[in-house]
């Protein structure tokens, strides 16, 4: 049955009105009459001795009607699901964005660098969720593995390796540092957000719920950007060698 709001709802009353009698009924297992379909416009007075059979006929009719309704409403339901999914995407995005900004503010406001690092881990997870909401699920996974997993662990490792005392933190700001810093970044935020809000005429096209196929990413990465992949591998190698050289303890007397 189609209500005014366009929803397909299967109500018990429908069958009651279209069939014959008064009592609301429970759906019961059929007793082997599934092939039999009664005429819904046909009315007759129920007899008590036919009650079990009538029950099963009701169920048969209900099942047939339900199947028909499900079939006709499948596309309708699909579109409604998509519409609700889009609203849900927006709500989720707002939540995740709020979480990311809150984590960033927490990172800046906490005096303890370990707390800062943990706040940043939270922000990075929120960024991964943003990637997921934008359909870039490969990047979301890489974000969690590489950023939250590897880079932030490296940060925490170094913080704990250095084991800073409070006077070594260097956390007392220079005169005017907060004022100028806040002014500059507020200006930057206003400029960037106004650009994002006004000047961009782009729209997301296509299905907002679609994910990026990973083989496509691989195809682009290893054809168009093959040289860049090689250079990135070289950079990683050089970074590794450089870290070993930098972190090596200088020889005695050298």
């Amino acid at each position: 049955m189609v209500t005014r709001s366009g929803r397909n709802i299967l109500r018990q009353g429908d069958f009651r009105a279209r069939t014959f009698d008064s009592e609301p009924f429970e759906l019961q297992p059929s007793q082997g009459h599934l092939g039999f379909r009664p005429n819904p416009t046909h009315s007759f007075t129920p007899d008590i001795k036919f009650a079990p059979k009538i029950q099963s006929l009701r169920y048969t009719y209900a099942a047939a009607k339900m199947a028909r309704l499900l079939k006709t409403s499948a596309s309708n339901f699909q579109s409604r699901l998509e519409a609700e999914g889009k609203t849900m995407l927006k709500v989720l995005f707002l939540l995740v964005a709020l979480g990311a900004v809150a984590g960033a503010i927490g990172m800046l406001s906490s005096p303890n660098p370990v707390h800062s690092a943990l706040f940043l881990v939270w922000t990075l997870f929120c960024v991964a969720a943003v990637y997921l909401l934008l359909g870039a699920e490969f990047l979301a996974i890489v974000q969690i593995i590489v950023y939250a997993g590897a880079i932030m662990v490296l940060f925490l490792f170094i913080i704990m390796l250095l084991n800073l005392r409070r006077d070594e933190l260097g956390d007392d700001p220079l005169p005017g540092q907060w004022t100028w810093g806040l002014m500059f970044s507020a200006l930057l935020a206003v400029a960037l957000v106004s650009v994002a809000g006004a000047a961009v005429t782009l729209r997301f096209s296509g299905d907002p719920l679609a994910l990026t196929p990973i083989p496509e990413i691989a195809r682009v990465m290893f054809t168009k950007y093959l040289l860049a992949v090689e250079i990135a591998s070289l950079i990683l190698l050089i970074a590794m060698v450089g870290v070993v050289v930098l972190a090596k303890r200088p020889k005695e007397g050298a």
Partner: protein
């Protein structure tokens, strides 16, 4: 047909995160937290890249984000090694006390 998330929201999030990262670099003196703020700015730029990639229906942006992450990993390794070396030399992570190359 109504699209999902408006791209303006994503770009605004990117802008806000970038500004917060810039704020962190400006107001902090602990070199490790400044470094974390740089990571935050990189992430903000990555969000914008993914958003543009989706808007143009083009995978180049996502691939570039992947390279950015690679570079960030290398950068963090080198940077933290430099911080450790600085700490060995000066017993501090205060950016204002690393004055060896200052005129």
């Amino acid at each position: 047909m109504e699209a999902g998330i408006p791209i303006n929201w994503v770009l605004a999030l990117s802008a806000v995160l970038f500004s917060l990262g810039a704020l962190g670099v400006l107001i902090k003196r602990n070199i490790i937290v400044m470094f974390m703020s740089i990571e935050l700015m990189l992430n903000a730029a990555n969000i914008a890249l993914v958003a543009f990639s989706k808007a143009h229906n083009n995978l180049d942006g996502q691939v570039i984000v992947f390279f950015t992450m690679t570079l960030a990993a290398a950068e963090v390794a080198i940077g933290l090694a430099i911080i450790v070396a600085l700490f060995r030399l000066r017993r501090t992570v205060d950016a204002d006390k690393a004055t060896l190359l200052r005129w």
